[in-house]
Symmetry: C2
Subunit: 220 residues, 2 copies
């Protein structure tokens, strides 16, 4: 099919496979894929006007990274049982406080400013009707402080499991109480960043994760 649309531009480095991977990764991370959706490579390929192979490659990569599962009838979102979610909370308690502390030590003024803006945005959209919008603001805030973590390996690990438990976060995102908790945690973390207080960042990240776990346990 039409694979040679714009071959003249050498800046076009990304292959179909990588673009499809990125596309569906962000879709999954944004919660735009429903648990009942069945992602079938042939269907997606037809809709994109490419062959099955690059779609298949992208889907299988997502499977290996834990974002999808393959169940002999299309790719689907994995179901996270309570045990796995609690295990991830334990991981978060181990990694994120340290990451926050390191990020504080490493944050540039630009990141600080961006973080301040992102927090204001999240705070404003907290009471918004559109939960999705609030969620996106939180995502921006998180990605910002994570970008200041100098330990690349650590950052990638956090990135990985955080987006995997996306569906779970949607669950606890339902009520206003959780929103207030999240924004309060962000506020404290932001204060720690401004104060260059890495220990405070460590502590408030610890509390933040614990609070999140408690909220999750409240709602099953």
């Amino acid at each position: 099919m039409q694979t040679d649309v714009n071959k003249k531009i050498p800046a076009r480095k990304l292959s179909h496979r990588d673009r499809i991977y990125q596309d569906y990764l962000t879709r999954i991370q944004r919660g735009e894929v429903a648990p009942e959706d069945r992602l079938v490579d042939t269907t997606i390929a037809a809709s994109l006007g490419v062959s099955r192979m690059p779609v298949r490659d992208a889907m299988m990569r997502l499977v290996h990274e834990g974002y999808l599962t393959t169940s002999s009838r299309g790719f689907k979102l994995p179901v996270w049982d309570k045990k796995s979610v609690l295990e991830v909370f334990e991981l978060r308690r181990l990694l994120e406080p340290r990451a926050a502390g390191l990020a504080v030590q490493n944050a540039t003024p630009e990141i600080l400013d961006a973080l301040t803006d992102a927090f204001a945005n999240a705070e404003n959209t907290m009471a918004s009707d559109d939960i999705r919008h609030f969620y996106r603001a939180c995502e921006v805030f998180r990605n910002l402080w994570l970008s200041a973590v100098p330990n690349t390996q650590l950052r990638q690990m956090i990135d990985r499991y955080l987006s995997q438990i996306q569906a779970v976060r949607m669950v606890t995102m339902g009520d206003a109480e959780s929103h207030a908790l999240i924004v309060a945690g962000q506020r404290q973390l932001l204060a720690a960043f401004h104060a260059k207080d890495s220990l405070k960042a460590f502590d408030c990240m610890t509390r933040y994760v614990y609070d999140g776990e408690a909220k999750y346990l409240e709602r099953v």
Copy 2:
């Protein structure tokens, strides 16, 4: 080509892709792939009597998991710079002490026995001429106590980065001093397991990782 050798046996669940993946994963983990080796899908496919696709799938999976890199001329082992290695040591300090503590609490008598045997094996082969043999014994010991970690997510994370820095471990495995350090660490950990002392396991794992890092820094 011959894909239908033994289709009658329904237990034969593994696809070519998965078998090739497993095969090369263990080869990489065992250090049987040299840094200068170039793994080319067509060549491997020809040698295995299968088509390029399953080999390619397996290689790309290994790439995405960090075991290989794709450099426009075959797949090769990734080069780990000092910074990345130190970052992984930081990760290990965060995760492995906790994992060891949990493993102690969760270890069954069978695992304890196996661990004792594995330690004896490692101790015996320490002075052996065959470094590879000693290394394998250490691998067995490590996999054993890791198998007792109840937190699956945590275990998988440790598994992932540990085998990635395989090449690095080969570096520090060179001298007898390191061997003694490793065996001493294993002895203490084993004692903690027998004493059901999870805090001791936590502490001695912490020291073990620190010692490993120091040894690495000695040898650049």
